[in-house]
Symmetry: C2
Subunit: 165 residues, 2 copies
Amino acid sequence: MELYLIRHGIAEDKQPDVKKDEERTLTKEGRQKTEKVAQQLKKLGLHFDLIATSSLVRARQTAEILISAGLSSQLEECKYLAHDGAIDSWVVDWLKPRNYSPQTQLALVGHEPDLSAWAEILVWGQAKSGLVLKKAGMIGVKLPETGSPLGRSQIFWLTPPRYLL
Amino acid sequence: MELYLIRHGIAEDKQPDVKKDEERTLTKEGRQKTEKVAQQLKKLGLHFDLIATSSLVRARQTAEILISAGLSSQLEECKYLAHDGAIDSWVVDWLKPRNYSPQTQLALVGHEPDLSAWAEILVWGQAKSGLVLKKAGMIGVKLPETGSPLGRSQIFWLTPPRYLL
């Protein structure tokens, strides 16, 4: 199975007195760059069986741009993708019960530093900030066909948006 | 400093009775794909201060294609990039004495499983086959400005050729 960990695009600055963090939206530039990334991924032939997204507005908007570009027809919110979600809980409580086939391609839209930490834990079993994941960037991880993916997966792709545009 | 670890393109099959391993050349397809990758890297604005290559023919030919595409004007062979070269020796004996500036961009052309192991050791301090590096694919690693890069670097790019073409 292939996981595509996608960070949300450029969002509004934090303004704690005006707007809650979870309501921050993509900026015009963030929206445009994310649309270009989505179009490029489509051109490269990618298709996701499902896009799971953090419920935070900037992630949800990013996921919707991916859907609009034709990268998937399935979108759902996933609580584990909000800040501080634990990948071991996601694997046990979300992924395993779904029993996906090895051909499944899933996109997860979320936040940093969580997504790059998830990738590191999938591959090396622990996170130590060894991956740079830019906004609207992506990490592709191949999970093993059987057994736990934690510490047993492989990274086959990691791209900042500037090398996709 | 940025390191770009580039695997040689598709080469002739092994024929131990006919040709030594180190003399295997790129196939026509390998040459064409590598040329496309080189042109795409040039289009993305990359430029290397130096391309260091394994002396094996298939790596040397790959490096020459990168030079022909205008990605660098400097090419040299590096014995540490031949099979089983040790990255700690490369860091101490090759990299450190050169005292490159933090803005330096180096390309290293070599072989698997060595290059992906080098990247893992740079980032996580040990290798466990957690990175997939295809022929003519590339891993971009950012080294820290001071101190040993081993276990202290970051991967900012990893791409198979099919996502560059």
